[in-house]
Amino acid sequence: MENIFTTQLDKLISWGQRNSLWPLPFGTACCAIEFMSFVSSHYDVARFGAEVVRFSPRQSDLMIVAGTITDKLAPALKKIYDQMCEPKWVISMGACASSGGFYRAYHVMQGIDEIIPVDVYVPGCPPAPESLFDALLKLQEMIKKGGREKVLRG
């Protein structure tokens, strides 16, 4: 009886988490401009329950890294990620955040997964808001299935 109750509770919590993601925009470049469309009325992320954008890591559970991350900025990114409370998720938005993009160079991190774990990568330079919605829906699907670890383990 107890087990049934816990599984049902997990489902309820997961339902709440995936439908009320609070994004923290870590915007450093043009991807952040696309992110603004993603949030604003024309595309309207409120339709998926993730409209409460917070600029404090302590109040958000979804970090959207939108833009180039240089080695100089990396300590700040890591610190802000560490300040976020569990459970937390990361979307790597655009070519630069995912792989360094066209900055195959001395000053840019070749993908933020060098220092923080990423749940969903969004290709594009910059990705259109639709791509970011796709990523959000994929992330919601992942949370439903029990998070990144469970999805990767299959």
Partner: protein, 166 residues
């Protein structure tokens, strides 16, 4: 664009003041470029700013150049772009730096805007500016080694500050 008449005045005044130090005068599509002796850079700049007729009161940019493998007379050069807000004319000064550790006098005492420009040239090319008030790296982070815009710098060599995730 600086007119021909103005260009001639600038060159004539400089040549009469510094006959030994003006090495070459070129005009590229109306932009005057003057190659000067690097030992005299400070005096020439001070003259360009203080002379009433020339009055170059604005330093637009200071750049470094690495001519490695380019069959140039020296490996490094510094390039200064000046503009006169009153006279509306401009000039470009260029000086070759011969040493392995290129050194040139700082012009911060003449134009304050030189401060960050020179720090940038120092950071990316390793050009030393003598008597600069604060010659520290400006673009790369403090744990960076080397000068990344030098042509012999491996362009993919990085200096990560955060430990890689396992």
């Amino acid at each position: 664009m600086t007119s021909n008449v103005e260009q001639k005045v600038i060159v004539k005044k400089l040549k009469s003041m510094f006959p030994e130090s003006i090495l070459e005068v070129t005009d590229f599509r109306g932009d005057l470029q003057i190659l000067v002796d690097r030992e005299k850079i400070l005096e020439i700049c001070r003259y360009l700013k203080t002379d009433k007729e020339l009055n170059f009161n604005m330093l637009l940019d200071v750049c470094g150049v690495d001519y490695l493998q380019m069959n140039s007379q020296a490996r490094f050069a510094v390039v200064y772009h000046m503009y006169s807000l009153n006279k509306k004319h401009r000039v470009r000064l260029k000086a070759f730096l011969n040493d392995d550790t290129p050194v040139v006098e700082s012009v911060c005492s003449i134009w304050k805007s030189a401060n960050w420009f020179e720090r940038e040239a120092y950071d990316l090319f390793g050009i030393q500016f003598k008597n600069h008030p604060n010659l520290k790296r400006i673009l790369t982070h403090p744990n960076f080694h080397g000068h990344p815009l030098r042509k012999d710098y491996d362009s993919t060599k990085r200096h990560p500050q955060v430990e890689r995730r396992k």
